[in-house]
């Protein structure tokens, strides 16, 4: 195995993923590849350290985020209210339509009974 082939595979094997025997044998006997592996390991350790290096946000971020949540909550409440009112309106219109239909039906029945009685 050549150093170039090992170098190509190192980025994915550096975490300790099992490597094939040819690669392992090459690294054990090649100082250049050992140095390259050490560089990747050092880089990964440093990357892991970045996890606890917090960045300082601008002082307004917290207030803006809480305000955005508040606003979203209000929008949600308004939407719920509106959809509730829409339901109420739809219910009222449906009820009125049913009442009108009922009245019309009663009138028709009453009229047909009167006609029957006269006959």
């Amino acid at each position: 195995m050549r150093c170039e082939e090992v170098a190509r595979q190192l980025p994915q094997t550096v975490e300790g993923t099992p490597v094939d025997l040819a690669m392992q044998t090459h690294i054990e006997s090649c100082l250049r590849c050992q140095a390259e592996l050490a560089r990747y390991r050092r880089m990964l350790r440093a990357l892991q350290q970045l996890r606890t290096r917090f960045l300082e946000p601008s002082p307004s971020l917290l207030a803006q985020t809480l305000a955005a949540l508040e606003e979203a909550g209000e929008r949600q409440a308004v939407r719920s209210l509106l959809s509730g009112r829409r339901l109420a309106y739809a219910g009222a219109i449906g009820g009125a339509a049913l009442a009108t239909a009922g009245t019309a039906a009663a009138l028709i029945v009453a009229r047909s009974r009167r006609r029957a009685a006269v006959a």
């Binding site: 980025p11 880089m43 990357l47 960045l55 601008s58 803006q64 955005a68 949540l69 979203a72 909550g73």
Partner: protein, 197 residues
């Protein structure tokens, strides 16, 4: 009796999450106060842009509040927030990139982060991580997000693929390329910048 401050902190976060799940907005606000620096740090590492990071943080907490009932508690709240943040950042970066491609002012200059470019930095012991952070920020966005989520935050390939909307194979390829690119920048020309990390 010895108390573990980390365990106490986690228990307090769990209590706030439970309260937030039952609709307590004040509890959720307290969760935001306790975690927003962490969320902002991830957003900055993913977007490498202050304005974008602010937008990502706000969007992430809006999504978290809407979906708090889907948080089952089998992972830590912070891990759940990382995934929401990664997804929000991916969405925003895609949107912004489409808008910026026409504008020359947003074409990023290649950043030389090698120690030779900043010789004064080599004398400071803490400079290694600063150099590394700048090298990560200079990576192309697609490679940067995978390197940050995997190598800095320790998310699995599967989680990264899901959050970024790519296949697991694509996530692995991007990680491989990102690490290689980072290595080339930090250890340019066979170790010339070897003190960078």
């Amino acid at each position: 009796m010895v108390t573990d401050p980390t365990a106490e902190l986690r228990a307090e976060v769990d209590r706030l999450v439970d309260a937030a799940r039952s609709g307590d907005r004040a509890a959720f606000d307290e969760l935001v106060r306790r975690t927003y620096v962490d969320t902002y740090t991830l957003a900055m590492r993913l977007t490498a842009n202050e304005e974008d990071a602010h937008d990502v943080v706000q969007e992430s907490y809006l999504r978290a509040w809407k979906g708090i009932n889907r948080f089952r508690g089998d992972a830590q709240f912070s891990t759940w927030m990382y995934r929401i943040t990664a997804n929000a950042a991916a969405t925003l970066v895609q949107k912004r990139r489409r808008r910026r491609t026409e504008s020359l002012e947003f074409v990023e200059e290649p950043v030389d982060v090698s120690i030779e470019a900043q010789p004064e930095a080599a004398t400071e012991s803490s400079v290694g991580l600063e150099e590394l952070a700048r090298a990560v920020a200079a990576l192309p966005p697609k490679l940067r997000s995978v390197v940050v989520l995997k190598d800095v935050y320790g998310l699995s390939h599967e989680a990264i693929a899901e959050d970024l909307g790519i296949s697991v194979a694509a996530a692995k390829v991007r990680l491989h390329r990102g690490r290689k690119r980072l290595r080339d920048v930090l250890f340019e020309e066979g170790g010339r910048s070897a003190h960078a990390v």
